[in-house]
Amino acid sequence: MAVLLIIFMTAVFGAFGDDFIEEIFIKPLPPTHLYSYFQFITLINNNDSFVHSNLSPRSIGEVISRFKVEELHLTLTEGQWRHNQWGYPVVDAAPGAELYAWFDPEVEDIDAEWRKLSATLSGLFCASLNFIDSFNTITPQMALWPTGPVKSNVNVTSLLRYASLPREIVCTENLTPWKKLLPCESSRGFSALLNSRMIHNTNYHSIGVHVRKVCASEDCTETKLEIKQTVALVYDYKIIGSNNWSFIKLFGHGLPGACPLATTSTIYIDITSNVTFPFQLSPPPDKIVSSHRGGSVTNLAVYNIETDVEMINVGVKHNSKEKLGVNVPPPLHFNRYVLGYGKEFGGIVTELINNYWTAIDVVVLENAPWWLPIQLSSLRINSEAESKLVKSQYYSPGRSRQKPYHLELLLTLPPRSTTTITIDFEFVFLKWQEYPPDANHGFYIGSAIVTANLPTAKNYTSIPVSGISYNSTFNASQPWYPAVFRTNGAMVSLPTPDFSMPYNVICLACTVVALAFGPLHNICTKELLLKPIGTPLSLTQKVLNFFKRKKE
């Protein structure tokens, strides 16, 4: 009976032409960390699938069609990806919440739709995306480009909106609604591994939803909709207890088999580091693939997972105890920090380090909130006001409580160099009700976006733009490798007023105003008279005089 049902269901979904792919990519980040990346891809052939929602999550489909979204990226991240130690992730994400979307050119009031979109997603993912408003939204000009096909006559930049909420704390309440979007939810398939007790025990975790259009045919006249849900986790061997990891150690239990609705369910394990840190995989992989991409070789162990199998526990056993290795940083990495002391003036420094032997072109997007007014006149690149490295520049000044400061620079990083971008800011004094709870905790500055066309695929794990599943990275050599990175965020401590005394301040300031008003009123309305100084009056006389004066 069960077999019949499965056959029937497969037939139905086959008729719709929808596909569901689940993949896990695991890469040791020697010597101390382990990166595991999950992606669940739903491909929808025709948009009617939202009406007869089968594999595709209906809620996402409705959001996409109602707000006329062409492409959408939402990530909720806790922790900081360390590019200089860990290389590059498959999908980079900014700490906190990050949302950006391209709208359909037919949308008239993009800002209004954007607010509605963020409010809806806020409800869908239980995240504070409803705090996205015009004061923290920007339209990146050079840093972000759609990953799906676009019509050549459309100015896509004006259709883009970007916002990040670096203060957002990501936790189980975001993961649960995220899992509900999957066809198998968390009962079967790879998503069964995503046990919130374990995945929040990591150094870095990021969940994301990426919706885009992909070409359905060679000439791209027809498009499919791709909904990709991702999870990236970085485990610390110290937390696991040893560098011999297994699914049970990472996720609390083994893999109960593939999702029955999935077309393919594959696990990829990067075993390139086996040479320097020898280990054995158990169970042995189905096959081992060697991928040559842009001059670097990656060896991947591949497991094809079937639906009805015993509990699988993929694991690694190292031959020797922990060993220290030399960390070779990736071709491009960066660092960001805040300068200055006191709470009056400061500066943000973004360091871009190019280790490669050719120049790399990058776009740096600085997005400073309105309460951190940056001064463009103080922009220095390697301490030069007019740097030859800047090829293009875009600046949109911010306005208090309305608009953030937005600076984009197209830079050419010389080979083997460190480029330092410095910009000064002034601390803003907010109204007392504008401070968040625990005002002295500090204020988060979002990360800068660094977009680069890398000349080498060293440490590069991303899926090519035209690809869908992870195996499209195999032997995918290109002239360059586009990548969007986020630098680390930073924190500043704004000067605070005394929150306990609004009444006192109002009273005192008004008293001082009254001190002027009283005498001036007297001077303007009364005149000077000489009054004899008599013997001091008794109390009764004083009272009598008082009433007499009234009568007069």
Partner: protein, 429 residues
């Protein structure tokens, strides 16, 4: 000769202060630079304008487009001359104030002659004589040149230097009866900082007094010319910004609605930091009316015979109650006070006010450092100091007015404070 020495020394001090290593610190002090007048923001505005970004799109620039254009030219062509320019402009202000006080003193003497009949015989000794008055003009000059407030204001290269020059020029023109010139300069000052709009009242009276003739015609003419000039300037500014009036939000809008709550020596910043959002509009209106409109009419009615006093008091009051005051404004009206040297004997709170000025000037930077840099004090400390500074200024002004009416009374009724042979005291009734 002595006067030239004074100018030389004052000029050199200012020029030297602009070139020392601590210049940045001076130019960034909260007491000296406000969001409205700071050099840093002027540089940022000009930089944005130079890069074809509208500086009024953002929140960093609040000067008028005319200033933007002038400083754009200056910074592009002769950036090395700017310190010298600021010094020279400030010395020019001092010179104009000196000239103005001389003309004012002539006006005093004339009005004294007119009132000669009303003056009690025993008070005749109190009348002003020429030498006292020339001394007063010298004091005005010295106070403006060597008052630390004015010196630091110029050293910080704030646009208040230009503001002071415009106001001084308009006062000088009015005291000499150049109606149109006075109107043009007061319109320029108003265009830059709004609050000098109050001065049109004393200037109109002054012009009518100086250019004898039909008083009402003169008032109307002055007002008309002023409004025309101001309107023209607003139009010209919009023309510079390609016909867009959006700059008004960043200039007058910024002054009136007080969106930037960075501390300064005024009363607004902490009051509106701690204000309940619900009442914000009410109190913004109340405070702005207090600064702009409340005292003009009563003081004008009371002191219409003394336009010079009216001008001094209105400048001082608008300085105390404006949304972004700085010590440059304070230095300016303090320089006008020596003209009233003959009132000092009637003032009762000179000592208190003097002490308060000295103490708050020393304490202000100290508690600011404690709050912002060492984190061992909080905002209340600095607020307390600014509050006492404002109180001291208010005492100074009200005391001056009381002194004036006391002197008026004494001139009329003699020095004796006796009624029917019994000792008596002066009271307001």
């Amino acid at each position: 000769m002595a006067a030239i020495m004074k100018y030389m020394i004052a000029g050199l001090v200012r020029y030297w202060l602009i070139h020392i290593d601590y210049w940045q610190t001076i130019a960034n002090r909260v007491e000296i630079a406000t969001p409205l007048n700071s050099w840093k923001r002027l540089v940022e505005g000009v930089f944005l304008y130079d890069h074809n970004i509208n500086p009024y799109e953002g929140d960093s620039f609040h000067e008028s487009p005319i200033m933007l254009l002038i400083f754009h030219c200056l910074m592009k062509r002769v950036p090395y001359l700017l310190p010298l320019l600021f010094t020279v402009l400030d010395l020019l202000t001092a010179y104009l104030l000196y000239k103005t006080s001389k003309s004012f003193i002539k006006i005093f003497i004339e009005s004294q002659k007119k009132q000669n009949d009303d003056i009690a015989e025993e008070s005749k000794t109190m009348l002003l004589n020429e030498t006292q008055l020339t001394e007063a003009a010298d004091y005005v000059l010295s106070v403006y040149l060597f008052n630390p407030y004015s010196v630091l204001n110029c050293a910080g290269m704030t646009t208040t230097v230009i503001q002071n020059l415009l106001v001084a020029t308009s006062l000088w023109s009015a005291s000499n009866g150049y109606g149109i010139l006075a109107c043009i300069f007061i319109a320029l000052a108003t265009h830059q900082a709004l609050y000098p709009v109050l001065l049109i009242v004393p200037i109109a009276i002054l012009l009518a007094d100086v250019n004898k003739g039909c008083n009402k015609c003169s008032y109307i003419r002055t007002l008309l010319v002023f409004v025309l000039c101001w309107g023209f300037l607003i139009y010209i500014s919009a023309y510079i910004m390609d016909g867009s009036y959006n700059y008004l939000h960043n200039t007058y809008g910024f002054i009136l609605t007080v969106p930037d709550l960075k501390p300064n020596i005024g009363l607004f910043w902490y009051f509106f930091t701690e204000m309940f959002e619900h009442f914000r509009l009410l109190f913004v209106c109340a405070f702005q009316i207090n600064a702009l409109a409340l005292y003009v009419i009563p003081l004008t009615l009371r002191f219409k015979r003394e336009p010079v006093l009216l001008a001094t008091v209105l400048i001082a009051l608008s300085t105390i109650f404006r949304s972004y005051p700085c010590i440059g404004d304070v230095g300016f009206y303090l320089a006008l006070l020596p003209m009233w040297k003959h009132l000092f004997t009637f003032m009762q709170q000179k000592f208190i006010v003097g002490c308060a000025f000295i103490i708050t000037s020393a304490l202000g930077p100290t508690v600011w450092h404690l709050w912002i840099y060492s984190g061992s004090a909080n905002a209340n400390f600095f607020f307390g100091v600014t509050l006492s500074f404002a109180t001291a200024q208010i005492f100074l002004i009200t005391d001056l007015l009381f002194a004036y009416i006391k002197r008026e009374f004494t001139l009329k009724h003699g020095l004796s404070r006796q009624v029917d042979g019994k000792p008596a005291k002066l009271v307001l009734r």
